[in-house]
Protein backbone atom coordinates (compact mmCIF):
# COMPACT_ATOMS: atom_id res chain seq x y z
CA UNK A 1 0.00 0.00 0.00
CA UNK A 2 1.30 3.43 -0.80
CA UNK A 3 0.82 6.54 1.29
CA UNK A 4 -2.23 7.74 -0.58
CA UNK A 5 -3.98 4.44 -0.08
CA UNK A 6 -3.21 4.45 3.65
CA UNK A 7 -4.80 7.88 3.95
CA UNK A 8 -7.85 6.75 2.01
CA UNK A 9 -8.24 3.82 4.39
CA UNK A 10 -7.99 6.06 7.44
CA UNK A 11 -10.54 8.40 5.88
CA UNK A 12 -12.90 5.52 5.06
CA UNK A 13 -12.73 4.16 8.59
CA UNK A 14 -13.39 7.60 10.04
CA UNK A 15 -16.41 8.00 7.75
CA UNK A 16 -17.61 4.54 8.74
CA UNK A 17 -17.44 5.41 12.45
CA UNK A 18 -19.16 8.72 11.81
CA UNK A 19 -21.93 6.98 9.83
CA UNK A 20 -22.33 4.44 12.60
CA UNK A 21 -22.80 7.13 15.22
CA UNK A 22 -25.06 9.23 13.02
CA UNK A 23 -27.24 6.23 12.18
CA UNK A 24 -27.63 5.29 15.82
CA UNK A 25 -28.63 8.81 16.84
CA UNK A 26 -31.40 9.45 14.34
CA UNK A 27 -34.30 7.25 13.48
CA UNK A 28 -38.05 6.72 13.58
CA UNK A 29 -38.52 7.80 17.20
CA UNK A 30 -37.04 11.14 18.10
CA UNK A 31 -34.51 11.13 20.86
CA UNK A 32 -32.96 14.28 22.26
CA UNK A 33 -29.52 14.27 20.73
CA UNK A 34 -27.58 15.00 23.91
CA UNK A 35 -29.36 12.13 25.67
CA UNK A 36 -28.90 9.82 22.73
CA UNK A 37 -25.18 10.46 22.66
CA UNK A 38 -25.05 9.68 26.38
CA UNK A 39 -26.83 6.35 25.96
CA UNK A 40 -24.81 5.42 22.91
CA UNK A 41 -21.61 5.62 24.90
CA UNK A 42 -23.11 4.10 28.07
CA UNK A 43 -24.61 0.81 26.92
CA UNK A 44 -24.75 -0.43 30.53
CA UNK A 45 -27.32 2.16 31.64
CA UNK A 46 -31.13 1.73 31.79
CA UNK A 47 -33.96 3.43 30.01
CA UNK A 48 -36.14 3.24 26.94
CA UNK A 49 -33.73 5.37 24.92
CA UNK A 50 -30.90 3.00 25.71
CA UNK A 51 -33.03 0.08 24.52
CA UNK A 52 -33.98 1.86 21.31
CA UNK A 53 -30.36 2.55 20.50
CA UNK A 54 -28.76 -0.68 21.65
CA UNK A 55 -31.47 -3.21 20.91
CA UNK A 56 -33.08 -1.81 17.80
CA UNK A 57 -30.74 0.55 16.01
CA UNK A 58 -27.27 -0.87 16.64
CA UNK A 59 -28.06 -4.46 15.59
CA UNK A 60 -29.64 -3.08 12.45
CA UNK A 61 -26.62 -0.90 11.73
CA UNK A 62 -24.33 -3.87 12.21
CA UNK A 63 -26.50 -5.84 9.83
CA UNK A 64 -26.28 -2.99 7.31
CA UNK A 65 -22.54 -2.89 7.74
CA UNK A 66 -22.14 -6.61 7.10
CA UNK A 67 -24.57 -6.74 4.18
CA UNK A 68 -23.08 -3.63 2.58
CA UNK A 69 -19.56 -4.98 2.95
CA UNK A 70 -20.61 -8.44 1.74
CA UNK A 71 -22.42 -7.23 -1.37
CA UNK A 72 -19.62 -4.84 -2.33
CA UNK A 73 -17.06 -7.63 -1.89
CA UNK A 74 -19.12 -10.01 -4.03
CA UNK A 75 -19.43 -7.39 -6.75
CA UNK A 76 -15.69 -6.78 -6.73
CA UNK A 77 -14.94 -10.48 -6.93
CA UNK A 78 -17.46 -11.27 -9.67
CA UNK A 79 -16.32 -8.31 -11.77
CA UNK A 80 -12.74 -9.45 -11.40
CA UNK A 81 -13.16 -13.16 -12.02
CA UNK A 82 -15.54 -12.73 -14.93
CA UNK A 83 -13.69 -9.66 -16.22
CA UNK A 84 -17.06 -8.05 -16.69
CA UNK A 85 -17.97 -4.55 -15.55
CA UNK A 86 -21.63 -5.44 -15.09
CA UNK A 87 -21.19 -8.52 -12.94
CA UNK A 88 -22.60 -8.42 -9.42
CA UNK A 89 -24.83 -10.76 -7.37
CA UNK A 90 -27.94 -9.03 -8.67
CA UNK A 91 -27.17 -8.96 -12.40
CA UNK A 92 -25.85 -12.52 -12.32
CA UNK A 93 -29.17 -13.75 -10.97
CA UNK A 94 -27.61 -15.04 -7.75
CA UNK A 95 -29.70 -12.72 -5.58
CA UNK A 96 -32.77 -13.81 -7.53
CA UNK A 97 -32.09 -17.44 -6.77
CA UNK A 98 -31.65 -16.70 -3.09
CA UNK A 99 -34.85 -14.64 -3.08
CA UNK A 100 -36.75 -17.55 -4.59
CA UNK A 101 -35.42 -19.91 -1.91
CA UNK A 102 -36.43 -17.59 0.90
CA UNK A 103 -39.87 -16.84 -0.56
CA UNK A 104 -40.55 -20.51 -0.85
CA UNK A 105 -39.43 -20.98 2.75
CA UNK A 106 -41.59 -18.16 4.10
CA UNK A 107 -44.71 -19.35 2.29
CA UNK A 108 -44.15 -22.90 3.46
CA UNK A 109 -43.73 -21.50 6.99
CA UNK A 110 -40.24 -22.84 7.40
CA UNK A 111 -38.59 -21.72 10.64
CA UNK A 112 -36.46 -18.60 10.31
CA UNK A 113 -33.26 -20.40 11.23
CA UNK A 114 -33.35 -22.36 8.00
CA UNK A 115 -33.95 -19.37 5.73
CA UNK A 116 -30.23 -18.68 5.20
CA UNK A 117 -29.82 -22.24 4.02
CA UNK A 118 -32.71 -21.89 1.60
CA UNK A 119 -31.21 -18.61 0.40
CA UNK A 120 -27.91 -20.32 -0.09
CA UNK A 121 -29.52 -23.23 -1.93
CA UNK A 122 -31.25 -20.77 -4.27
CA UNK A 123 -28.08 -18.80 -4.87
CA UNK A 124 -26.20 -22.07 -5.42
CA UNK A 125 -28.56 -22.98 -8.27
CA UNK A 126 -27.96 -19.63 -9.96
CA UNK A 127 -24.26 -19.81 -9.29
CA UNK A 128 -24.12 -23.22 -10.87
CA UNK A 129 -25.85 -21.99 -14.02
CA UNK A 130 -23.67 -18.87 -14.25
CA UNK A 131 -20.57 -20.95 -13.68
CA UNK A 132 -21.61 -23.39 -16.37
CA UNK A 133 -22.01 -20.52 -18.83
CA UNK A 134 -18.72 -18.92 -17.77
CA UNK A 135 -16.82 -22.21 -17.93
CA UNK A 136 -17.61 -22.70 -21.59
CA UNK A 137 -14.53 -21.69 -23.45
CA UNK A 138 -16.03 -19.40 -26.04
CA UNK A 139 -18.51 -17.57 -23.87
CA UNK A 140 -18.69 -13.84 -24.38
CA UNK A 141 -19.28 -11.32 -21.66
CA UNK A 142 -22.67 -10.13 -22.89
CA UNK A 143 -23.84 -13.75 -22.94
CA UNK A 144 -23.03 -14.11 -19.29
CA UNK A 145 -24.95 -11.03 -18.21
CA UNK A 146 -27.81 -12.02 -20.50
CA UNK A 147 -27.85 -15.39 -18.74
CA UNK A 148 -27.96 -13.65 -15.37
CA UNK A 149 -30.78 -11.36 -16.45
CA UNK A 150 -32.71 -14.37 -17.72
CA UNK A 151 -32.16 -16.17 -14.41
CA UNK A 152 -33.47 -13.14 -12.57
CA UNK A 153 -36.55 -13.11 -14.82
CA UNK A 154 -37.07 -16.78 -14.25
CA UNK A 155 -36.76 -16.57 -10.49
CA UNK A 156 -38.86 -13.44 -10.13
CA UNK A 157 -41.57 -15.14 -12.18
CA UNK A 158 -41.38 -18.10 -9.84
CA UNK A 159 -41.59 -15.75 -6.86
CA UNK A 160 -44.65 -14.10 -8.39
CA UNK A 161 -46.11 -17.52 -9.06
CA UNK A 162 -45.78 -18.30 -5.36
CA UNK A 163 -47.35 -14.95 -4.48
CA UNK A 164 -50.30 -15.50 -6.78
CA UNK A 165 -51.23 -18.77 -5.17
CA UNK A 166 -50.66 -17.61 -1.58
CA UNK A 167 -52.80 -15.57 0.79
CA UNK A 168 -51.98 -11.88 0.87
CA UNK A 169 -51.24 -11.89 4.63
CA UNK A 170 -48.62 -14.56 4.20
CA UNK A 171 -46.70 -12.75 1.56
CA UNK A 172 -46.94 -9.10 2.59
CA UNK A 173 -43.81 -9.34 4.69
CA UNK A 174 -41.99 -11.06 1.88
CA UNK A 175 -42.87 -8.34 -0.60
CA UNK A 176 -41.32 -5.63 1.55
CA UNK A 177 -38.36 -7.84 2.20
CA UNK A 178 -37.89 -8.50 -1.50
CA UNK A 179 -37.46 -4.80 -2.09
CA UNK A 180 -34.47 -4.92 0.21
CA UNK A 181 -35.19 -4.32 3.86
CA UNK A 182 -32.91 -4.41 6.86
CA UNK A 183 -35.71 -4.21 9.43
CA UNK A 184 -37.32 -7.59 8.99
CA UNK A 185 -34.30 -9.65 9.91
CA UNK A 186 -34.84 -11.69 13.04
CA UNK A 187 -32.51 -11.34 15.96
CA UNK A 188 -31.33 -14.86 15.61
CA UNK A 189 -30.38 -14.24 12.02
CA UNK A 190 -28.42 -11.15 12.98
CA UNK A 191 -26.44 -13.32 15.38
CA UNK A 192 -25.56 -15.94 12.79
CA UNK A 193 -24.90 -13.76 9.75
CA UNK A 194 -21.47 -12.58 10.96
CA UNK A 195 -20.50 -16.22 11.24
CA UNK A 196 -21.30 -16.64 7.56
CA UNK A 197 -19.96 -13.37 6.24
CA UNK A 198 -16.80 -12.54 8.18
CA UNK A 199 -14.84 -15.75 7.48
CA UNK A 200 -15.97 -15.61 3.85
CA UNK A 201 -14.68 -12.07 3.51
CA UNK A 202 -11.43 -13.21 5.06
CA UNK A 203 -11.16 -16.02 2.55
CA UNK A 204 -11.76 -13.64 -0.36
CA UNK A 205 -9.00 -11.42 0.96
CA UNK A 206 -6.61 -14.36 1.19
CA UNK A 207 -7.19 -14.95 -2.52
CA UNK A 208 -7.07 -11.30 -3.54
CA UNK A 209 -3.67 -11.62 -5.15
CA UNK A 210 -4.73 -14.63 -7.17
CA UNK A 211 -7.76 -12.56 -8.18
CA UNK A 212 -5.45 -9.82 -9.49
CA UNK A 213 -3.81 -12.35 -11.75
CA UNK A 214 -7.10 -13.97 -12.76
CA UNK A 215 -8.19 -10.63 -14.23
CA UNK A 216 -5.60 -11.25 -16.96
CA UNK A 217 -7.67 -14.22 -18.07
CA UNK A 218 -7.53 -17.85 -17.07
CA UNK A 219 -4.77 -18.82 -19.50
CA UNK A 220 -2.34 -16.11 -18.49
CA UNK A 221 -3.16 -16.74 -14.83
CA UNK A 222 -2.31 -20.40 -15.28
CA UNK A 223 1.02 -19.44 -16.85
CA UNK A 224 1.80 -17.18 -13.93
CA UNK A 225 1.22 -20.06 -11.54
CA UNK A 226 -2.40 -19.60 -10.44
CA UNK A 227 -4.45 -22.77 -10.43
CA UNK A 228 -7.21 -20.92 -12.30
CA UNK A 229 -9.93 -23.56 -12.15
CA UNK A 230 -9.52 -24.13 -8.43
CA UNK A 231 -9.23 -20.48 -7.46
CA UNK A 232 -12.20 -19.56 -9.60
CA UNK A 233 -14.33 -22.19 -7.90
CA UNK A 234 -13.28 -21.08 -4.42
CA UNK A 235 -14.04 -17.44 -5.21
CA UNK A 236 -17.37 -18.27 -6.86
CA UNK A 237 -18.60 -20.47 -4.01
CA UNK A 238 -17.45 -18.08 -1.31
CA UNK A 239 -19.04 -15.06 -2.98
CA UNK A 240 -22.26 -17.00 -3.47
CA UNK A 241 -22.28 -17.93 0.23
CA UNK A 242 -21.98 -14.28 1.12
CA UNK A 243 -24.71 -13.34 -1.33
CA UNK A 244 -27.01 -16.03 0.06
CA UNK A 245 -26.46 -14.83 3.62
CA UNK A 246 -27.01 -11.19 2.65
CA UNK A 247 -30.21 -11.91 0.75
CA UNK A 248 -31.54 -14.08 3.59
CA UNK A 249 -31.14 -11.17 6.01
CA UNK A 250 -32.07 -8.23 3.91
CA UNK A 251 -33.73 -9.23 0.66
CA UNK A 252 -32.68 -7.96 -2.71
CA UNK A 253 -30.53 -4.90 -2.28
CA UNK A 254 -29.29 -3.96 -5.70
CA UNK A 255 -26.56 -1.61 -6.88
CA UNK A 256 -24.28 -1.82 -3.85
CA UNK A 257 -22.37 -4.66 -5.49
CA UNK A 258 -22.30 -2.92 -8.85
CA UNK A 259 -21.56 0.70 -8.05
CA UNK A 260 -19.22 0.51 -5.08
CA UNK A 261 -16.43 -1.51 -6.78
CA UNK A 262 -16.40 0.82 -9.80
CA UNK A 263 -16.28 3.85 -7.59
CA UNK A 264 -13.51 2.48 -5.38
CA UNK A 265 -11.44 1.36 -8.38
CA UNK A 266 -11.32 5.01 -9.38
CA UNK A 267 -10.07 5.98 -5.95
CA UNK A 268 -7.69 3.24 -4.78
CA UNK A 269 -6.76 1.53 -8.05
CA UNK A 270 -7.31 -2.01 -9.27
CA UNK A 271 -5.09 -4.05 -6.96
CA UNK A 272 -7.60 -6.30 -5.21
CA UNK A 273 -5.49 -6.54 -2.07
CA UNK A 274 -6.40 -2.89 -1.53
CA UNK A 275 -9.59 -2.66 -3.57
CA UNK A 276 -11.40 -5.49 -1.80
CA UNK A 277 -11.15 -4.14 1.76
CA UNK A 278 -11.75 -0.59 0.53
CA UNK A 279 -14.91 -1.72 -1.28
CA UNK A 280 -16.11 -3.53 1.85
CA UNK A 281 -15.79 -0.41 3.98
CA UNK A 282 -17.34 1.81 1.31
CA UNK A 283 -20.22 -0.64 0.82
CA UNK A 284 -20.85 -0.66 4.55
CA UNK A 285 -20.86 3.14 4.69
CA UNK A 286 -23.18 3.39 1.68
CA UNK A 287 -25.70 0.92 3.05
CA UNK A 288 -25.70 2.34 6.58
CA UNK A 289 -26.34 5.84 5.23
CA UNK A 290 -29.00 4.65 2.77
CA UNK A 291 -30.73 2.75 5.55
CA UNK A 292 -30.65 5.80 7.82
CA UNK A 293 -32.33 7.74 5.06
CA UNK A 294 -34.86 4.94 4.55
CA UNK A 295 -35.73 4.99 8.24
CA UNK A 296 -36.15 8.71 8.54
CA UNK A 297 -37.26 10.19 5.24
CA UNK A 298 -41.00 9.53 5.69
CA UNK A 299 -40.99 9.23 9.47
CA UNK A 300 -42.66 7.45 11.23
CA UNK A 301 -42.99 5.10 8.28
CA UNK A 302 -40.02 3.39 6.70
CA UNK A 303 -38.98 2.77 3.13
CA UNK A 304 -37.27 -0.45 2.06
CA UNK A 305 -33.59 0.39 1.81
CA UNK A 306 -33.37 -1.33 -1.59
CA UNK A 307 -35.50 1.49 -2.99
CA UNK A 308 -33.02 4.08 -1.72
CA UNK A 309 -29.92 2.24 -2.93
CA UNK A 310 -31.61 1.71 -6.29
CA UNK A 311 -32.45 5.39 -6.69
CA UNK A 312 -29.10 6.69 -5.50
CA UNK A 313 -27.04 4.01 -7.15
CA UNK A 314 -28.90 4.34 -10.43
CA UNK A 315 -28.68 8.12 -10.64
CA UNK A 316 -25.08 8.13 -9.55
CA UNK A 317 -24.06 5.46 -12.01
CA UNK A 318 -25.91 6.96 -14.98
CA UNK A 319 -24.40 10.38 -14.40
CA UNK A 320 -21.03 8.72 -14.08
CA UNK A 321 -21.48 6.96 -17.42
CA UNK A 322 -22.65 10.12 -19.14
CA UNK A 323 -19.65 12.02 -17.86
CA UNK A 324 -17.01 9.45 -18.80
CA UNK A 325 -16.04 10.01 -22.40
CA UNK A 326 -15.54 6.44 -23.45
CA UNK A 327 -17.45 3.33 -22.48
CA UNK A 328 -14.55 2.26 -20.36
CA UNK A 329 -15.50 1.95 -16.77
CA UNK A 330 -12.78 -0.25 -15.40
Amino acid sequence: MNKKQVWIFILLIVILCFSFILASLIGGSELKSAKAVYYLFHPGSYGIERDIIWQIRVPRIILGLLVGAGLAACGTVFQGVLRNPLAEPYTLGISGGAAFGVTLGVVLAVSGIYLPFLAFAGSAISMFVVYAIAARKQFSNPTLILGGVMLNFLFSSLVFLIFSVSRAEDVHGVILWLMGDLSSAQNLLIKIIPVFILPSLGLLLVFSRDLNILTLGEEKALHLGVNSEQVKKILFITASCITGACVACSGMIGFVGLVIPHFMRRIVGVDHRVLLPASCIAGAIFLILCDTLARTIIRPLELPVGVITGIFGGIFFLSFLMKSKRWKIF
Binding site: K137, V206, N212, T215, L222, S228, R265, K328
Partner: protein, 269 residues
Protein backbone atom coordinates in the same frame (compact mmCIF):
# COMPACT_ATOMS: atom_id res chain seq x y z
CA UNK B 1 22.82 -32.01 -23.82
CA UNK B 2 19.60 -32.73 -21.98
CA UNK B 3 16.20 -32.18 -23.58
CA UNK B 4 14.40 -29.46 -21.67
CA UNK B 5 11.14 -30.07 -23.48
CA UNK B 6 10.03 -33.22 -25.16
CA UNK B 7 6.77 -33.63 -27.04
CA UNK B 8 5.72 -37.19 -27.75
CA UNK B 9 2.94 -38.27 -30.13
CA UNK B 10 0.89 -35.22 -29.16
CA UNK B 11 -2.66 -35.12 -30.53
CA UNK B 12 -5.22 -32.50 -29.57
CA UNK B 13 -7.79 -30.06 -30.87
CA UNK B 14 -11.11 -28.38 -30.09
CA UNK B 15 -14.69 -29.63 -30.01
CA UNK B 16 -13.83 -33.06 -31.34
CA UNK B 17 -11.88 -31.64 -34.29
CA UNK B 18 -8.32 -32.82 -34.40
CA UNK B 19 -5.89 -29.96 -35.09
CA UNK B 20 -2.56 -31.37 -33.96
CA UNK B 21 -1.84 -34.88 -35.11
CA UNK B 22 0.78 -37.07 -33.46
CA UNK B 23 3.47 -34.46 -33.21
CA UNK B 24 6.82 -35.42 -31.70
CA UNK B 25 9.85 -33.21 -31.24
CA UNK B 26 12.26 -32.17 -28.55
CA UNK B 27 14.19 -29.06 -27.65
CA UNK B 28 17.62 -29.11 -26.07
CA UNK B 29 18.45 -26.91 -23.12
CA UNK B 30 19.73 -23.65 -24.54
CA UNK B 31 18.05 -24.17 -27.89
CA UNK B 32 16.21 -21.58 -29.98
CA UNK B 33 13.37 -23.25 -31.86
CA UNK B 34 11.07 -21.47 -34.29
CA UNK B 35 7.66 -22.91 -35.10
CA UNK B 36 6.55 -21.85 -38.57
CA UNK B 37 3.77 -22.83 -40.92
CA UNK B 38 0.85 -21.44 -42.92
CA UNK B 39 -2.35 -20.07 -41.37
CA UNK B 40 -4.42 -22.83 -39.85
CA UNK B 41 -1.52 -25.27 -39.70
CA UNK B 42 -1.97 -25.51 -35.93
CA UNK B 43 0.87 -23.30 -34.68
CA UNK B 44 -1.11 -21.63 -31.95
CA UNK B 45 -2.86 -24.87 -31.01
CA UNK B 46 0.49 -26.60 -30.64
CA UNK B 47 1.68 -23.64 -28.61
CA UNK B 48 -1.33 -23.85 -26.32
CA UNK B 49 -0.89 -27.57 -25.89
CA UNK B 50 2.78 -27.20 -24.96
CA UNK B 51 2.00 -24.40 -22.54
CA UNK B 52 -0.51 -26.61 -20.73
CA UNK B 53 -3.67 -24.65 -21.51
CA UNK B 54 -5.08 -27.25 -23.84
CA UNK B 55 -5.08 -30.77 -22.49
CA UNK B 56 -3.80 -33.36 -24.90
CA UNK B 57 -6.06 -36.11 -26.22
CA UNK B 58 -3.17 -38.38 -26.71
CA UNK B 59 0.55 -38.23 -26.16
CA UNK B 60 2.53 -36.26 -23.61
CA UNK B 61 4.57 -33.13 -23.09
CA UNK B 62 7.57 -33.54 -20.78
CA UNK B 63 9.42 -30.72 -19.10
CA UNK B 64 12.84 -31.88 -17.89
CA UNK B 65 11.60 -35.44 -18.02
CA UNK B 66 8.38 -34.81 -16.04
CA UNK B 67 4.93 -34.88 -17.61
CA UNK B 68 3.70 -31.27 -17.49
CA UNK B 69 0.14 -32.32 -16.66
CA UNK B 70 1.51 -33.58 -13.34
CA UNK B 71 3.41 -30.40 -12.41
CA UNK B 72 1.65 -27.81 -10.22
CA UNK B 73 1.06 -24.54 -12.12
CA UNK B 74 3.03 -22.60 -9.54
CA UNK B 75 6.07 -24.86 -9.85
CA UNK B 76 5.91 -24.77 -13.62
CA UNK B 77 5.56 -20.98 -13.66
CA UNK B 78 8.91 -20.66 -11.87
CA UNK B 79 10.58 -22.42 -14.78
CA UNK B 80 8.47 -21.67 -17.84
CA UNK B 81 7.12 -18.29 -18.95
CA UNK B 82 4.50 -18.08 -21.68
CA UNK B 83 3.96 -14.96 -23.79
CA UNK B 84 0.62 -15.17 -25.60
CA UNK B 85 -0.15 -13.52 -28.91
CA UNK B 86 -2.93 -11.33 -27.52
CA UNK B 87 -3.75 -10.50 -23.97
CA UNK B 88 -6.83 -8.53 -23.14
CA UNK B 89 -6.29 -6.59 -19.94
CA UNK B 90 -9.55 -5.05 -18.75
CA UNK B 91 -8.27 -3.48 -15.53
CA UNK B 92 -6.09 -0.39 -15.38
CA UNK B 93 -3.09 -1.84 -13.56
CA UNK B 94 0.00 0.33 -13.50
CA UNK B 95 2.89 -0.93 -15.63
CA UNK B 96 4.93 -1.77 -12.52
CA UNK B 97 2.05 -3.65 -10.88
CA UNK B 98 1.58 -5.60 -14.06
CA UNK B 99 5.23 -6.56 -14.51
CA UNK B 100 5.55 -7.51 -10.85
CA UNK B 101 2.77 -10.06 -11.34
CA UNK B 102 5.54 -12.06 -12.97
CA UNK B 103 6.98 -12.48 -9.48
CA UNK B 104 3.80 -14.25 -8.33
CA UNK B 105 5.15 -17.81 -8.48
CA UNK B 106 8.22 -16.76 -6.49
CA UNK B 107 6.53 -14.84 -3.66
CA UNK B 108 4.30 -15.71 -0.72
CA UNK B 109 0.53 -15.59 -0.34
CA UNK B 110 0.21 -11.82 0.03
CA UNK B 111 3.09 -11.10 -2.28
CA UNK B 112 5.27 -9.10 0.04
CA UNK B 113 8.03 -7.94 -2.29
CA UNK B 114 11.65 -8.13 -1.31
CA UNK B 115 14.60 -6.07 -2.42
CA UNK B 116 15.38 -8.72 -5.00
CA UNK B 117 11.96 -8.39 -6.65
CA UNK B 118 12.49 -4.67 -7.14
CA UNK B 119 15.95 -5.30 -8.57
CA UNK B 120 14.41 -7.74 -11.03
CA UNK B 121 11.77 -5.15 -11.95
CA UNK B 122 14.50 -2.61 -12.71
CA UNK B 123 16.40 -5.17 -14.71
CA UNK B 124 13.49 -6.26 -16.91
CA UNK B 125 12.38 -2.67 -17.42
CA UNK B 126 15.86 -1.97 -18.69
CA UNK B 127 16.03 -5.14 -20.81
CA UNK B 128 12.76 -4.49 -22.61
CA UNK B 129 13.32 -0.75 -22.85
CA UNK B 130 10.10 -0.02 -20.99
CA UNK B 131 11.39 2.16 -18.12
CA UNK B 132 9.74 5.16 -19.69
CA UNK B 133 6.28 3.54 -19.30
CA UNK B 134 6.56 3.55 -15.51
CA UNK B 135 3.72 5.34 -13.81
CA UNK B 136 1.40 4.82 -16.77
CA UNK B 137 -1.64 2.58 -16.80
CA UNK B 138 -1.45 -0.58 -18.84
CA UNK B 139 -4.74 0.30 -20.55
CA UNK B 140 -3.24 3.51 -21.93
CA UNK B 141 -0.43 1.78 -23.84
CA UNK B 142 -0.44 0.99 -27.55
CA UNK B 143 -0.42 -2.57 -28.87
CA UNK B 144 3.33 -2.65 -29.39
CA UNK B 145 4.03 -1.09 -26.02
CA UNK B 146 1.81 -3.65 -24.28
CA UNK B 147 3.63 -6.45 -26.07
CA UNK B 148 6.95 -5.30 -24.63
CA UNK B 149 5.45 -4.96 -21.15
CA UNK B 150 4.03 -8.49 -21.35
CA UNK B 151 7.48 -9.67 -22.33
CA UNK B 152 8.92 -7.84 -19.34
CA UNK B 153 6.42 -9.66 -17.13
CA UNK B 154 7.57 -12.95 -18.59
CA UNK B 155 11.24 -12.11 -17.92
CA UNK B 156 10.31 -11.20 -14.34
CA UNK B 157 9.36 -14.84 -13.86
CA UNK B 158 13.04 -15.64 -14.44
CA UNK B 159 12.20 -18.67 -16.55
CA UNK B 160 14.47 -21.39 -17.87
CA UNK B 161 12.19 -21.88 -20.85
CA UNK B 162 10.40 -19.10 -22.67
CA UNK B 163 7.46 -19.80 -24.98
CA UNK B 164 6.38 -16.97 -27.25
CA UNK B 165 3.49 -16.83 -29.70
CA UNK B 166 4.22 -14.25 -32.39
CA UNK B 167 6.01 -11.81 -30.09
CA UNK B 168 6.71 -9.36 -32.88
CA UNK B 169 3.29 -9.17 -34.53
CA UNK B 170 2.48 -5.66 -33.29
CA UNK B 171 5.96 -4.23 -33.44
CA UNK B 172 7.64 -1.95 -35.95
CA UNK B 173 10.83 -3.23 -37.57
CA UNK B 174 13.12 -1.51 -35.07
CA UNK B 175 11.35 -3.11 -32.11
CA UNK B 176 11.06 -6.44 -33.90
CA UNK B 177 14.80 -6.57 -34.22
CA UNK B 178 15.38 -5.21 -30.74
CA UNK B 179 13.15 -7.86 -29.12
CA UNK B 180 14.56 -10.72 -31.16
CA UNK B 181 18.12 -9.50 -30.49
CA UNK B 182 17.30 -9.47 -26.82
CA UNK B 183 15.93 -13.01 -26.99
CA UNK B 184 19.04 -14.13 -28.81
CA UNK B 185 21.27 -12.46 -26.24
CA UNK B 186 19.47 -14.11 -23.31
CA UNK B 187 19.59 -17.38 -25.20
CA UNK B 188 23.34 -17.16 -25.66
CA UNK B 189 24.41 -15.56 -22.38
CA UNK B 190 21.96 -16.98 -19.88
CA UNK B 191 21.30 -20.25 -21.65
CA UNK B 192 17.57 -19.46 -21.76
CA UNK B 193 15.75 -21.95 -23.96
CA UNK B 194 13.34 -20.29 -26.39
CA UNK B 195 10.46 -21.67 -28.40
CA UNK B 196 8.85 -19.08 -30.59
CA UNK B 197 5.98 -19.16 -33.06
CA UNK B 198 6.84 -16.84 -35.92
CA UNK B 199 5.01 -15.81 -39.02
CA UNK B 200 7.86 -14.10 -40.72
CA UNK B 201 10.07 -16.74 -42.34
CA UNK B 202 13.03 -14.40 -42.70
CA UNK B 203 13.02 -13.41 -39.06
CA UNK B 204 12.74 -17.10 -38.19
CA UNK B 205 15.69 -17.89 -40.47
CA UNK B 206 17.92 -15.23 -38.99
CA UNK B 207 17.30 -15.90 -35.29
CA UNK B 208 16.35 -19.55 -34.76
CA UNK B 209 18.86 -22.40 -34.51
CA UNK B 210 16.22 -24.87 -35.55
CA UNK B 211 12.89 -24.60 -37.29
CA UNK B 212 9.82 -26.78 -37.07
CA UNK B 213 7.58 -26.46 -40.10
CA UNK B 214 3.98 -27.39 -39.42
CA UNK B 215 1.55 -28.28 -42.16
CA UNK B 216 -2.02 -29.38 -41.53
CA UNK B 217 -1.32 -30.34 -37.90
CA UNK B 218 1.71 -32.46 -38.70
CA UNK B 219 5.42 -31.83 -38.62
CA UNK B 220 6.41 -31.36 -42.22
CA UNK B 221 10.10 -30.88 -41.56
CA UNK B 222 12.44 -29.99 -38.74
CA UNK B 223 16.04 -28.93 -39.03
CA UNK B 224 18.30 -25.93 -39.40
CA UNK B 225 16.94 -22.93 -41.34
CA UNK B 226 19.08 -24.01 -44.32
CA UNK B 227 17.46 -27.43 -44.31
CA UNK B 228 13.87 -26.28 -43.83
CA UNK B 229 13.69 -23.12 -45.88
CA UNK B 230 14.19 -24.39 -49.40
CA UNK B 231 12.00 -23.21 -52.24
CA UNK B 232 10.48 -26.63 -52.94
CA UNK B 233 9.50 -27.24 -49.30
CA UNK B 234 7.99 -23.75 -48.94
CA UNK B 235 6.13 -23.97 -52.23
CA UNK B 236 4.74 -27.34 -51.24
CA UNK B 237 3.53 -26.23 -47.82
CA UNK B 238 2.49 -22.62 -48.51
CA UNK B 239 1.24 -23.29 -52.06
CA UNK B 240 2.85 -20.14 -53.35
CA UNK B 241 5.79 -19.35 -55.56
CA UNK B 242 8.91 -18.16 -53.77
CA UNK B 243 12.57 -17.67 -54.49
CA UNK B 244 15.02 -18.55 -51.73
CA UNK B 245 18.30 -16.67 -51.82
CA UNK B 246 21.19 -16.40 -49.44
CA UNK B 247 20.94 -13.36 -47.20
CA UNK B 248 24.05 -11.39 -48.26
CA UNK B 249 24.59 -10.14 -44.69
CA UNK B 250 24.06 -13.24 -42.60
CA UNK B 251 24.29 -15.95 -45.26
CA UNK B 252 21.09 -17.43 -43.81
CA UNK B 253 18.32 -18.36 -46.27
CA UNK B 254 16.19 -15.45 -47.41
CA UNK B 255 12.69 -16.01 -48.80
CA UNK B 256 11.56 -13.66 -51.56
CA UNK B 257 7.90 -13.52 -52.52
CA UNK B 258 6.91 -13.38 -56.18
CA UNK B 259 3.78 -11.46 -57.18
CA UNK B 260 1.32 -12.73 -59.78
CA UNK B 261 2.32 -9.96 -62.17
CA UNK B 262 5.95 -11.03 -62.01
CA UNK B 263 5.00 -14.68 -62.35
CA UNK B 264 3.05 -13.97 -65.52
CA UNK B 265 5.81 -11.78 -66.93
CA UNK B 266 8.36 -14.49 -66.41
CA UNK B 267 6.00 -17.28 -67.44
CA UNK B 268 5.29 -15.66 -70.80
CA UNK B 269 8.96 -15.25 -71.61
Amino acid sequence: MMDILKVKDLTCGYDGREIIKEISFSVEEGGFLGIIGPNGAGKTTLFRAISGVLSSWNGNVFYKGKDVSGIRPRDLAREVAVIPQVLEIPFAFSVEEFILMGRFPHTGRFGALKEKDHEILEEVLHLTDTSSFCGRKITELSGGEIQRVILAQGFAQQPRLLLLDEPTSHLDIAHQIRILDLLKRLNKKKDLTIIVVLHDLNLAASYCDRLLLLDDGKVHKTGSPQEVLTYNIIEEVYKTVVVVEKNPVSSKPYVLLVSEEERQKRGSK
